[in-house]
Symmetry: C2
């Protein structure tokens, strides 16, 4: 079910929704967060490359604070992972092949001091994972709507680690597998204009947050 | 000075240092964090595509909490930005063309509630920026060694925003431009093995942090 796209061009279905203003690698624009999945399993040979991509992200002192814990849908841990999700997310993530909890180590390996960038660095690794998944034609959908405290229990999270996010990985399916209101949202989302997120010098005392553009 | 690499193969100088275990986009492996830069300026047409790439990262509720504040080396803000850096980082970052402070908005635009993922999401955008820069042959080097509190002052950081990291963007130069001890480190860094960062199910009660591998 993996579709290789060696040419990395912006796909026509994506181009309808997204217009980058500069010439960038189409991989960034083609990555989006579908919810429709077939419910098929995704085996280790298919999902391990996503973690391999994550591995090469940069981090402060090369501390590599990211940890990826996963449950495949046929595993003993699946139900525990699945039950962490909000009701809303269960409605589509039930057709994932793999659920992932993304964790960060909050301290530096080399001296045990707290890291200021453990979440930020782990987000960088997550993006590599999402991009490699998109390149392979897999659904990779990040999830913030889940029970963070219960996740720490389910994972036996050690001290000095923090729960960052979850993600669903799956085989892309037809939008018809989704509840009707989710079908309507099943398209690449747009973004704020660059002028809302890039600032020459300093904030001007007003809020450059771009609330107006949502 | 921009080198396009449309074939996205793993470069020979990188291959000496890094061996991915799975077939992933070479872009992830080719991205590393050089320090040697020529001191040439980098103009807007060259650095804006990096922020364009960042723009397409995923975020919780598509909140896009990332903000990129920058100073080019010929700008009035350069000195303020440069003086934020630690002594160690000034020694190489003085040859950057652009310094960037990466900031996140800590609350959701749509309801003002705190976000649990503002740093994590902003890290994802940062990775897109770093990857696009690497693709263009630019140096893009993330920096954690700077004065976070003073950065908030320099940027007139509004409430509900947090300083995440800095980055230097520049034209790749010869390692001889670096102090001798930095020349020795001027090569792509390796990573922990996948078995240290990927866990099936749950932590086992020991520390899977891979301290042993550093």
């Amino acid at each position: 079910m993996v579709v290789q796209n060696p040419h990395h061009e912006i796909r026509t279905d994506v181009r309808e929704h997204r217009s980058p203003k500069y010439d960038i690698a189409p991989l960034f624009v083609n990555r989006w967060s579908p919810r429709s999945m077939t419910g098929d399993p995704v085996d280790e040979a298919e999902f391990m490359p996503l973690f391999e991509a994550a591995r090469w992200a940069p981090s402060s002192y090369n501390n590599q604070p990211w940890r990826f814990l996963y449950a495949t849908r046929d595993s003993d841990h699946w139900e525990d992972y699945f039950n962490l999700l909000s009701e809303e997310n269960r409605r589509w993530a039930k057709r994932a092949g793999v659920l992932v909890v993304i964790v960060s180590k909050t301290t530096f390996d080399y001296n045990g001091d707290p890291s200021q960038t453990h979440s930020f660095d782990t987000g960088a690794a997550w993006e590599n994972m999402a991009l490699e998944g998109a390149r392979r034609g897999l659904v990779v959908h990040g999830i913030g709507g889940f029970d963070y405290e219960q996740a720490a229990v389910v994972l036996s999270l050690p001290a000095d680690y923090a729960i960052e996010a979850m993600a669903a990985i799956g085989v892309r399916g037809s939008p018809e597998t989704l509840p009707p209101e989710m079908q309507a949202r099943e398209a690449p989302s747009d973004r704020k204009p660059l002028t809302d997120i890039v600032i020459d010098g300093a904030f001007d005392g007003c809020d450059n947050g771009g609330e107006e553009t949502r």
